[in-house]
Subunit: 341 residues, 2 copies
């Protein structure tokens, strides 16, 4: 048996490699692997299903992640996938692997965060599996949601001349992580070290307690806008733009000066000597919604409070580029986060 | 903050403790935590959801578990939960955490087993999440199934005078594990050690490649039997009987001489000097179906090829007892497997 390191394929290559031979057998399976959620048809509304796995040492570091925030975030990232299909999350299952260093009080803290997210977004906890683990904490959450068939928005619906929009701002969660890492290193081994987060609260909040953008979905409905394609920004805007372009068979242009960036993000990038636009395009964990709308909806989109226009969809042969402030075009490459590197 | 070791609560205590405050908020949530599956109503058929977490070093040992079998089993145990509600499994999501010592070829092997189970039981793979892990392999599978509302069988429906039945035979998977453990210890450090499994193939198969009992569901339907309560035997018959008694508010009597035990299981118990009935009652991982039927269905149940009658449901005040061959009554206690011990 030959040996191939998983990092050579990356997560998406690995998944493609693994799921290639699985053919759909049930008429109730409308859409399987490849979007934010699976779409199922059990005779009434559509059922949406999504799942996320969070592992200690890979996705989170408990030296600076409070367990309550972690629980909240673990739910939030799943809800974000349901909203990204224009659906409404309804139920979650929570599976935990727990090593010996965790006490019941620790797990109660984690569940307090899970509870808070369920309360805020009206989601029911309906099951799960709980086990000891050899090392560390792991959280596997599956979320089930619903949508009417004609409400669902896939990644594959973007068409030439569509407008590209994104909610909120980008890069802050990544900068929050850089800040937490810096203070962790600075405080290592010092007993009474007090990390300095003054004036950076927004960055921490974006990293530690992201909110799924239910409000964007609400505003889209209020304005009568149905996106042609949508997904949430978890691996970074570059990576997600390429997903939409690939699955829709189109190209895109996004404008550097339209990328929404918070002031704290900019200050932190300056301080860390990092390229701000790179951080915003590739940082990841923003959990904002990236969506496309028909050109005819231009005026409606301009009214949106929760999202802004950042570019347009093109014919596929034009490729995917960011137009810089000096009008040069930079090819968009996925530099999103890869758990296997 | 006080410190409570998780082992003091056990898995069920921990879950009860954690989920107590979660109130159901959606009319689509018909049943949440506490049965084999959650039951959801999206306007057509009912949606069933179940999830299982398998962790290396806790639930499986790769020194004697082939990855393909592991993949098959990981799916099988989830399907078993859907059948245990009298439903039909339709879709699964698979999340994996993979440490550096695994190659793409290893994961392909695992998926070959997942694929085989999906093919055999007509289930679609519709999503998942794949990540690196710091140590070891972990598999989190969620299964979604369907059932008509009046088909669903909960754990809570057993009534006084109902008959108790179980499919297949019990204790073999546990004996298979003992056998694998014995040979692992015997072969430790020996390069050319050949384990001796001759005449014990059934025990190995039951441990390494359990089959969910779709055939029992089929036979029940063919005979026009609808169980009043049902669950699958994963933690051991004793533990599952107590679940049904507790959730149905009843007692039970099961007869020692009716407990189905395979010849190989008996031989192995003798060889290992273990109490055979204890192994059958508490061994776990059988993935058989335990169900109750009204006394009026006695003749139909007697015709079943896949299951047999082992006892009867009583009034709650009579408690839960096994009637031994000498007519003494032994109280049934849950000695099922506890991952936290």
């Amino acid at each position: 048996m030959s040996e191939t390191e998983i990092s050579t394929l990356g997560e998406f290559g690995l998944i493609e490699n693994l799921t290639r031979d699985f053919k759909v057998k049930n008429t109730s399976t409308l859409r399987g692997v490849g979007d934010d959620c699976a779409v199922l048809d059990y005779g009434g509304k559509r059922t949406l299903v999504t799942t996320d796995l969070l592992l200690e040492g890979i996705h989170f570091d408990l030296t600076y992640t409070p367990l309550k925030h972690l629980g909240y975030k673990a739910v939030a990232v799943n809800l974000s996938d349901i909203y990204a299909m224009n659906g409404t999350p309804r139920q979650i299952t929570v599976s935990l692997g727990i090593s010996k260093r965790f006490t019941v009080e620790h797990i109660n803290e984690l569940y307090a965060g899970i509870y808070a997210a369920c309360e805020k977004y009206g989601v029911d906890l309906v099951g799960g599996d709980t086990s000891a683990s050899v090392t560390g904490l792991l959280i596997s959450i599956t979320c089930i949601g619903e949508a009417l068939d004609d409400e669902i928005v896939y990644r594959s619906g973007a068409r030439d001349t569509d407008l590209i929009c994104v909610s909120g701002d980008l890069g802050a969660a990544y900068m929050g992580l850089q800040l937490l890492e810096r203070e962790r290193v600075a405080g290592a081994g010092q007993k009474d070290f007090q990390p300095d987060f003054a004036g950076r609260e927004y960055l921490l909040e974006r990293q530690l307690k992201p909110e799924p953008r239910a409000d964007v979905i609400t505003e889209l409905r209020e304005l009568g806008i149905k996106p042609t394609a949508m997904m949430d920004v978890s691996d970074g805007l570059s990576s997600e733009l390429l997903h939409i372009c690939k699955q829709s068979g189109v190209g895109c242009r996004v404008y550097e000066d339209r990328i929404p960036i918070d002031y704290q993000t900019a200050v932190m990038a300056e301080e860390l000597n990092m390229n701000l636009v790179t951080a915003a395009m590739n940082g990841g964990e923003d959990y904002e919604l990236l969506f496309t709308v028909p050109l005819t909806q231009h005026e409606k989109v301009e009214q949106m409070k929760t999202a802004r226009l950042i570019g347009r969809i093109t014919k596929p042969e034009l490729g995917a580029y960011m137009v810089a402030r000096d009008d040069t075009e930079l090819e968009i490459r996925a530099q999103g986060w890869n758990a296997f590197n």
